[in-house]
Amino acid sequence: MSSVPRFWRNLGSRYNLEGTRCKECGEYFYPPRNVCVNCRRSGQIEPFKFKGTGEIVTYTLIHTAAEGFESQAPYTLAIIKLDEGPSLTSQVVGDPEKMHIGMRVKSIFRKLGEGGDRGMIYYGTKFTPADT
C-alpha cells in the first residue's frame, strides 16, 4: 500500500473511474487496459470515463483486514459490475446487513486506506447503495 508512485500513476482512474474502451470491438475495460483482450494488437484503445453505476456481483464482510485497512474493519468488499460491462473490486460503504447480490450501487469519493509508517492517506473510489 505504501508506494506513492504506484498509487499516483493511476490517480485518474482511482479518482474518476477513468478506464479504456476498444474502438475495434467495443469492449470496455476497468481497470484500464492498453491491450484489448479480444483484438490484441489490432485493437484501438481509447480512454473512457465510466458513469459509476452498477450492481453487486458478489461480496464479503472482511473481519481480518488487509494491511493498511485495519481501522476500517469490518468492511464490505465487493465485485461490482459496472453498467457499461466491466467488473471491478471495491469497498461498499453502508450497512453490511443490507448488502445483497444484485444490489444497485453508485461510486463515491472516499478515503481508501493508510500507508504504513509514513502515514500516507489514500483517496479514491468506493461504492454505496444507489438509493442513498
Binding site: 500500500m1 504506484r6 498509487f7 493511476n10 481497470p31 456481483v57 458478489t58 461480496y59 464479503t60 464482510l61 472482511i62 473481519h63 481480518t64 483486514a65 488487509a66 494491511e67 485497512f69 476500517q72 468492511y75 468488499l77 465487493a78 465485485i79 461490482i80 466491466p86 467488473s87 471491478l88 473490486t89 471495491s90 469497498q91 447480490i101 481508501l112 486506506g113 489514500y122 479514491g124
Partner: protein, 390 residues
C-alpha cells in the same frame, strides 16, 4: 518426447519449524528424495525449486543457487538450478519444468523441489506477502485479502447453488481426518462441523477453520526417463500428463466467479494427454487453500456437477473409501500449505498412494492419481496425472 517417471520422493515435516531455515528444509527434502531413489548427487543433471516469496518471508532471493549450493551440487558439480514462481502454484510448476526437461532429452535425472519458510515473519507480514498473488493495484489496494477473494467466490456459490456453510465445513472436517493419518501433517486433530462454524469469522462466510494455515515445509521428487527408471526403483510412478493454464490475475475479470476456467482448461488438456476421463482417476490432491476452493476444484475437474460440490462432499463421496478420495494427505487445510512446496507435496502424496505406501490413509488398489495446484485466486492452474503402470 520421452516418457518420464518419478523414482524418489520426500516431504519434511510440515508445521512451525522455528529451529530450521529455508535451506535446511529444502536440503532435507532433496537429499531424502535422492536417497529414496538410490541415486547419487553426481547423476543429477538439473534442479528446479518452487518458491513463492523467499524475498518477503526470509529476505532471500536467488533460491535456486542457494539450494544447489547447500545440497552439495554447486562447488564441484555446478549443476544448473532454477527457481520457479507462480505464487501458490510454484511447486506444481517446478515439477512441470522438471518433466519437460527430462521428456525433451535435455536432462536425465532431475530434482523437482518446493519449499516455503513462512513463520520467520509475523502473520500480518505473511498475509501481505500472500496477497501479492492477487492483483496488488486493483484488488489489494481496494482492501482485498486472500480469504476475502475466496469468500466472494463462496458467497456467489452459495447464492447460486444453495451451497451451505455446513457443506464448506465438511471439507475441513474430512481433511483434518485425513491429516490425522499423515505423519508429516501440521494438524492431526479431528474437528467437527461445529468447530468450524464456531471459529472466528475471517471474511464472511469463511471462518478461520475454512482457511489453510501458514506453514513451513519442503518437498522433493526425483525424476528419470521411464526407460531407465527400473534401474533405481521397483515402483516407478509414471507421469501420464502435465498441463497448465492461465486466467486473469484479478477475480473480477473472470468469465464466471464460481468457476476456475484455468482449472477447467488445464484439466481438459491433462485428460486428453493421458487419454483418461474423470471416472478413471482413483484419487486427487486438489488445491484447498480454502474450503470453497476444494468444492470448486472437484466441480471444475469433473468429479462433481457444477454446483453439487458441497452435496458430494457432505455425502462422503470425497472421503477415503468414497467414490473419489480427495486430499488424502490432509490437503492444504490440515497437512499445511507452505506455498512453494504444496504442488510438490501433492505429487509426493499421489506417488506414495500409487506405490501402496500410504498406510492408514491408503486408497485400495489406486492406479491413477491426479494433482491440482492453483496460483492466486485461479490465474494459474497446474494439473498432473500419475500412473502405476507405464
Amino acid at each position: 518426447m520421452r516418457d518420464v517417471a518419478i523414482i524418489g520422493v520426500k516431504n519434511t515435516k510440515f508445521g512451525e519449524l522455528w529451529e530450521e531455515s529455508l535451506r535446511d528444509i529444502v536440503v532435507e527434502a532433496g537429499i531424502g528424495a535422492i536417497e529414496d531413489a538410490g541415486a547419487s548427487g553426481k547423476e543429477i543433471d538439473a534442479l528446479y525449486v518452487g518458491n513463492m516469496s523467499g524475498g518477503r518471508f526470509v529476505d532471500q532471493e536467488h533460491i535456486g543457487a542457494l539450494i544447489a549450493d547447500y545440497s552439495g551440487l554447486s562447488k564441484n558439480l555446478h549443476i544448473p538450478a532454477t527457481r520457479v514462481e507462480a505464487a501458490c502454484a510454484s511447486g506444481g510448476l517446478a515439477l512441470r519444468q522438471a518433466i519437460m526437461s527430462v521428456a525433451s532429452g535435455y536432462s536425465d535425472i532431475v530434482v523437482a523441489a518446493g519449499a516455503e519458510k513462512m513463520t520467520d515473519v509475523g502473520s500480518e507480514e505473511a498475509s501481505s506477502a500472500l496477497a501479492a498473488a492477487a492483483d496488488r493495484e486493483w484488488e489489494g489496494m481496494a482492501g482485498a485479502t486472500f480469504p476475502g477473494l475466496y469468500a466472494m467466490i463462496a458467497k456467489l456459490h452459495m447464492h447460486r447453488y444453495g451451497t451451505t456453510s455446513e457443506q464448506l465445513a465438511e471439507v475441513a472436517v474430512k481433511n483434518h481426518k485425513n491429516g490425522s493419518f499423515n505423519p508429516i501433517a501440521q494438524y492431526k486433530n479431528i474437528i467437527t462441523v461445529d468447530d468450524v462454524l464456531n471459529s472466528i469469522m475471517v471474511a464472511d462466510p469463511l471462518h478461520i477453520f475454512d482457511c489453510s494455515p501458514i506453514t513451513d515445509g519442503a518437498s522433493a521428487l526425483v525424476l528419470a526417463p521411464a526407460d531407465i527408471a527400473h534401474k533405481y526403483t521397483d515402483t516407478p510412478i509414471y507421469i501420464k500428463a502435465t498441463a497448465q493454464a492461465s486466467d486473469t490475475i484479478a477475480l473480477h475479470d473472470r468469465r464466471d466467479i464460481t468457476t476456475l476456467d484455468a482449472t477447467v482448461v488445464a484439466a481438459k488438456r491433462a485428460y486428453s494427454m493421458a487419454k483418461l476421463k474423470p471416472k478413471d482417476i482413483d484419487l486427487v490432491e486438489v488445491h484447498d487453500c480454502f474450503t470453497i476452493a476444494e468444492i470448486c476444484a472437484i466441480e471444475d475437474l469433473g468429479f462433481a456437477e457444477k454446483g453439487k460440490g458441497g452435496i458430494v462432499t457432505a455425502n462422503g463421496e470425497t472421503a477415503i473409501g468414497g467414490r473419489i478420495p480427495v486430499n488424502t494427505s490432509g490437503g492444504l487445510k490440515a497437512c499445511g500449505h507452505p506455498v512453494g512446496a504444496t504442488g510438490i507435496k501433492q505429487a509426493v502424496e499421489v506417488v506414495t498412494q500409487l506405490r501402496g505406501d500410504a498406510g492408514k490413509r491408503q486408497v485400495a488398489g489406486a492406479k491413477y492419481g491426479m494433482t491440482h495446484n492453483v496460483g492466486g485466486s485461479g490465474a494459474t492452474a497446474v494439473i498432473h496425472i500419475f500412473s502405476r503402470e507405464r
